[in-house]
Symmetry: C2
Subunit: 287 residues, 2 copies
């Protein structure tokens, strides 16, 4: 089955799907995106993702290209045409196509691209053995709360992490506090058993899976504190993990090469992962 | 005469020129660009632009899509096919097309797009009356020295400036020093007649026109100091101006609504502009 993409009103073979060279997404990173998981044929936390999309668009003064309801219908059609039961749908919206000039163009319709694909299997060892992260300076702009396609620092960070043999890079602000991973949120469990993740601000993206984990932590009676934590605190933690749409809760067993806790996937991380999987089988936690 | 674009080996009508939705330039802002002026049919400071392009590509580990010599031939063909005698050529290079994933893809060829257009006339009043700038916090990432397409903060800044009725926005770092404009470098002339522009670092793009102005200042016996300056210093300056490829030297007569000097275009700015125009008629200052 060949992949089908939705591009501005048309369903086209993915390989032939294109956008104008004058699309402001291409020339200026003037756009936003969402990645939503599909589990057992259902969109996971669809409402949360669309709420965040609305916020990203609003912060950039980009109009919705169609109603939310119409977009949901297109999403379902893209999933159907790609035969995705377990996988992801990717939405990219930009300010549209205009002669290249920095200020916002007038009277231009926003662009919408949607693609879907089946899940890439996550190596089993990620859960049984855990993964490592490395830390480095956060080089991103001041509005990381907007899910924009201005992702160059993120991909450079991810590449640096992979070259260092790590699964992810945790970015560190000027005060020594971890902001988040290059495509994930960052979590630790302290010696006292407290779950810590950075509070929401312009410094991080408020992950939909992050919100789900907060909800599940409450449901499971875990003590949660939303605050910044340092690299030293993370290295001394009992557990650490990452959260994201494509790999919901991933135990971290090493930071900059030093073991976290006993160097094995943490109990709380694995419990949260099981709880998350149970919830997503029902359409998500904040759907 | 309809515009022609060069896209990965083909010359196509500009309106039909497209790139894949999986181009990393579109999805991640994983690319760089250059804008080079064409004056009297000649590329202005071509060597300087290609040297900077080489540096940007190198910093991002993106390979040249063809030799420098071949690229120069394509540039000339794009200019010829578009009948541009006075205008600009735009080059955009990205890491290429790959299934969406943050790390650098392996074995993928970089993408190259080139377009050209005739000069948009600059309003005469820009020079006779000067323009205003407004200042605001620099929200960009930590590597503004790379001429990447990760330009979202720049366009938001330019839009904010235009909405404030200004020509340009000057961005201010956490210590109160001006970095640069959203698409221009920033200059002042002090009471003592010293020409000041921020020194090169990761905080600014080293403009090719900036380098030309430095050269011309030396040729004309002006005292130049490359160092950061504050907004207060700029407001108290005798003159201020911006430099860029598309509007080489633009006198600034107001900052945040307060007049600079006597509120008229400065003598040194206008002299430098004349010297620049004389040099570009011969192919540029650092060609």
């Amino acid at each position: 089955m060949s992949r089908i993409a939705y591009v501005n009103g048309r369903y086209v073979p993915h390989r032939e799907a294109t956008v104008s060279i004058d699309d402001r997404g291409y020339q200026f990173a003037d756009g936003v995106y969402e990645v939503i998981a599909v589990t057992n044929g259902r969109l996971v936390d669809e409402g949360g993702h669309l709420d965040r999309l609305d916020r990203s668009l609003s912060e950039l003064s980009i109009a919705w290209p169609m109603s939310r309801r119409a977009m949901q219908l297109v999403m379902r059609e893209v999933i159907r045409r790609n035969g995705v039961t377990n996988g992801i749908i990717y939405l990219q919206l930009t300010r549209g196509v205009a002669r290249r000039d920095h200020p916002f163009p007038v009277g231009v319709a926003p662009s919408l691209v949607m693609t879907a694909r089946r899940a890439k299997p996550i190596p089993a060892s990620n859960l049984t053995k855990g993964v490592g992260v490395v830390t480095f300076a956060d080089q991103r702009w001041a509005r990381c709360d907007i899910k924009s396609t201005s992702l160059l620092p993120n991909i450079l960070g991810k590449q640096a992490a992979r070259q260092a043999g790590a699964y992810e890079g945790w970015m560190v602000d000027n005060n020594g506090f971890v902001t988040e991973g290059t495509s994930t949120n960052a979590w630790i469990v302290t010696d006292k058993g407290e779950l810590i993740t950075r509070n929401v601000s312009h410094a991080i993206l408020n992950g939909i899976t992050r919100l789900a984990v907060i909800q599940l932590a409450g449901d499971n009676g875990l003590k949660l504190v939303e605050r910044p934590f340092t690299v030293a605190e993370a290295k001394a933690a009992r557990e650490a993990f990452t959260s994201s749409t494509t790999n919901p809760i991933q135990p971290v067993v090493a930071i900059d090469g030093a073991p976290v806790g006993d160097g094995k996937p943490g109990r709380i991380a694995l419990e949260l992962r099981r709880a998350y999987e149970a919830a997503t089988a029902q359409g998500g936690v904040n759907g």
